[in-house]
């Protein structure tokens, strides 16, 4: 599904990713763990195509195709979805309006027919119900005045509606209480399938009790420094990141 080879990235002359390698197979849920500042969000932005980053070397292949030359909207249409660590507010644009614009834009880019309004409304309502998002929230400006937890649910709703094949979750657990964490995790688990892969970025092992990963990668200083199965997360929980900080330094 996704293959990253020898990725070197800097921003404002500051080197952040230092020859990162990572492979995520079809249907795999890969977790990335690492201390603050190790470059996890940078990695997610670079995969999604945010400007300002300088790609010094390496490639990112989605199903064998290099995405580095593609605009963010083209990457989205190709199936890359990023659930933001800090979702943005779009005042005056009703959430429903935004969802429709996004869904129709992606369908159009993929050469699919537009959804009928009835079908669109049904999907949004069902999706919102499953995530415990009240219907009247869909009429409000996107993310405007939403609590941290509501914003994260809204990210998962968008993910469910857009049906991407490669989903990145950047610290989706941060700011969630235990109930919200369960709802969000269930939302993610419902989307798991053999044609869809996940990159779950988190700082804490807690999330991985709910979204159980197939593989765990430890990131430090812009590199994947250790990979293993889900037990690696528990090991990190016990020992902390101290070992890795010195290891790569």
């Amino acid at each position: 599904m996704l293959e990253i080879r020898n990725l070197h990235v800097s921003i404002e002359d500051k080197k952040i990713l230092n020859g990162l390698n990572l492979t995520v197979h079809d249907g795999e849920v890969a977790a990335i763990m690492g201390p603050n500042g190790s470059g996890k969000s940078t990695l997610s932005y670079v995969i999604a195509g945010k400007e300002d980053y300088e790609i010094l070397d390496g490639e990112i292949l989605l199903d064998g195709e290099n995405v580095l030359e593609m605009e963010p909207d083209a990457r989205a249409a190709a199936g890359i979805f990023l659930a933001f660590q800090y979702p943005l507010e779009i005042p005056g644009v009703a959430t429903m309006t935004f969802l429709k614009a996004a869904m129709q834009a992606q369908r159009k880019a993929r050469g699919e027919v537009e959804l009928s309004t009835a079908e669109f409304m049904k999907r949004v309502r069902d999706g919102a119900n499953q995530l415990g998002i009240p219907q009247d929230m869909l009429k409000r400006g996107l993310n405007v005045g939403f609590s941290g937890g509501e914003k994260k649910r809204m990210e998962i709703l968008q993910m469910a509606l857009l049906e991407p094949k490669f989903c990145i979750l950047d610290e989706t657990d941060s700011g969630l209480d235990i109930d919200a964490l369960k709802v969000v995790s269930e939302g993610v688990n419902r989307l798991r399938g053999k044609d869809r892969s996940f990159l779950v970025i988190t700082h804490y092992q807690r999330l991985l009790n709910y979204i159980v990963p197939d593989t765990v990668h430890v990131m430090a200083h812009g590199q994947v420094v250790k990979s293993g199965g889900k037990e690696l997360a528990l090991e990190l929980e016990a020992n902390g990141y101290a070992d890795y900080k010195t290891l790569a330094a």
């Binding site: 909207d73 933001f84 779009i90 309006t97 834009a105």
Partner: protein
């Protein structure tokens, strides 16, 4: 979001520097020589077959104008205007006074058609537009056609050019003209009083709700010509009218002056809704050419419980200097001002409103949305005042600015004067930027950069667009996106 999609398609269809209405119409014109003096004032008055009192009124204005100075307090910057280098009258020669639409020069009818304003009633009726809109078409210095006059007449509504009103209804014109914007109000208004050439006149009698939207479409075509139009709208007790004006001009390297005066008078329980979609040529991306739009618009809520509402969508002009205002004289009267001012390229906007509370329990509401992009400067300047007798006066002002890019400027200059302790004035203001982060977020969801910008801007101006008559809201939304084309990235 069909509107967004249409917007985007339209934006894509045109070049960054391509003002869609920039074409020029070839017509033979009857033009006054360049320059301004008493003879020119007399010539204009003679061309219009005006009554003698009108000429005296003009001459008086002209003499006063000679003693006045151009105001310099606005945050706009332009080279000195040579008032002797302008033609003050230009009219199409062919069929100077068309009696019916069939007498109008086909080149002019074509011009309006190209602008999307059909003037033949059967074309309007055959069109897709659901509701009827009566149009007065002003081409340079003269009104060339007014539609649906007969139908309006049946309802008792007078809708015609101000030149015609001066001949056909002199008593009404004489009674009201200059009573809201006095001859000596300000430099440009005084100039207008001396040399105004045409504009629209509306009279709605007691108890009549005007059966359709009225609109005037102003077109500057001739080179080196100023347009000085004058609009006068009177609504008697309990009447209602919704009036809209639109404006465009050809794309030219030299600047052209447009100095209009609009006066509204609402008597007891009357309501006037005045909307403007202003799209004069803004100049090119380096600031060459464009219209200087120096306009005085004022409404007088003369009667008790009367209401005047201004809705302004401004995307054009090199310089905009305009403060549509309300004098809230009648007890319980209400003034509203909704505005979207978009500036891009080298455009300069200094605009806002004045809400002058004179009567008891008068209320006003100001919602202003400024969008600045490119190297433009966009200033909101607003006055809210309460006279000492204006017990119970209330105002709410909300003034938001949106910046696109980091070479433009947004400024807010509110003035508040209260001489009555019971007046309650509230003021809110915000300035925000379309951030790279917001754009990236939208694009990550699959929207293109243009779609993302259109969506964010539409969200920003939504509250004001809702105030426009339906037929014009979609048009205005498109216009805003087109004006901002090329401003991101």
């Amino acid at each position: 979001m069909p509107a967004v999609k249409e917007t985007v398609d339209q934006v894509k269809a045109i070049d960054v520097d391509q003002y869609k209405y920039g074409f020029e119409t070839e017509v033979e014109v009857d033009k006054a020589p360049k320059g301004l003096n008493e003879d020119i004032v007399r010539l204009i008055s003679a061309k219009k077959n005006e009554p003698a009192w009108m000429l005296e009124w003009r001459l008086d204005a002209f003499r006063r104008w000679l003693t006045m100075r151009e105001p310099t307090w606005a945050r706009v910057d332009y080279p000195e205007i040579d008032f002797q280098d302008i033609h003050y009258y230009a009219a199409p020669k062919k069929n100077a006074a068309p009696k019916t639409i069939d007498d109008v020069d086909p080149a002019i009818l074509d011009t309006y058609k190209k602008l999307g304003i059909p003037l033949r009633e059967q074309e309007i009726l055959a069109g897709v537009q659901q509701s009827k809109v009566a149009v007065d078409a002003v081409f340079d210095s003269v009104s060339v056609a007014t539609t649906f006059k007969e139908e309006l007449k049946k309802a008792g509504v007078i809708f015609c050019s101000i030149s015609e009103a001066m001949r056909e209804h002199p008593e009404l014109v004489q009674k009201y003209i200059g009573t809201v914007v006095p001859v000596t109000d300000n430099y440009y208004a005084t100039l207008n009083s001396a040399v105004f050439t045409d504009g629209s006149f509306v009279y709605v009698p007691k108890g009549v709700r005007c059966p359709m939207e009225l609109s005037t479409y102003f077109r500057i075509n001739e080179k080196n010509t100023g347009q000085f139009e004058r609009t006068l709208i009177i609504v008697e007790e309990g009447g209602y009218v919704s009036y809209l004006e639109g404006c465009t001009a050809p794309q030219r390297d030299e600047n052209q002056l447009h100095a209009a005066v609009v006066e509204l008078i609402a008597l007891d329980d009357a309501e006037i809704k005045d909307s403007t979609v202003q799209n004069w040529y803004p100049g090119d991306k380096d600031g060459k050419g464009g219209i200087y739009n120096f306009v005085t618009k004022r409404g007088d809520c003369r009667g008790k419980n009367s209401k005047i509402s201004w809705t302004q969508v401004e995307t054009g002009s090199a310089i905009t200097w305009k403060y549509p205002s309300c004098i809230l004289r009648g007890e319980g009267s209400r003034g509203e001002f909704y505005s979207i001012a978009v500036s891009n390229g080298r455009q300069q906007v200094d605009s806002g409103t004045k809400m002058i509370h004179l009567g008891k329990n008068t209320t006003s509401r100001i919602i202003s949305k400024g969008i600045s992009a490119g190297h433009s400067q966009n200033t909101y300047r607003g006055l809210v005042s309460a006279h000492r007798r204006a017990t119970g006066a209330r105002n709410f002002t909300n003034c938001d600015s949106l910046l696109i890019g980091n070479k433009c400027g947004a400024h807010t200059v509110p003035y508040i004067e209260s001489k009555n302790g019971s007046a309650i004035f509230e003021h809110e203001a915000t300035t925000s930027k379309i951030s790279e982060e917001q754009l990236f977020y939208c694009m990550q969801r699959g929207l293109s950069e243009e779609e993302a910008t259109a969506l964010i801007v539409n969200g920003f101006v939504k509250d004001v667009l809702q105030q426009l008559p339906m037929e014009f809201a979609v048009e205005a939304q498109k216009l805003i996106s087109i004006s901002l084309e090329g401003s991101v990235g």
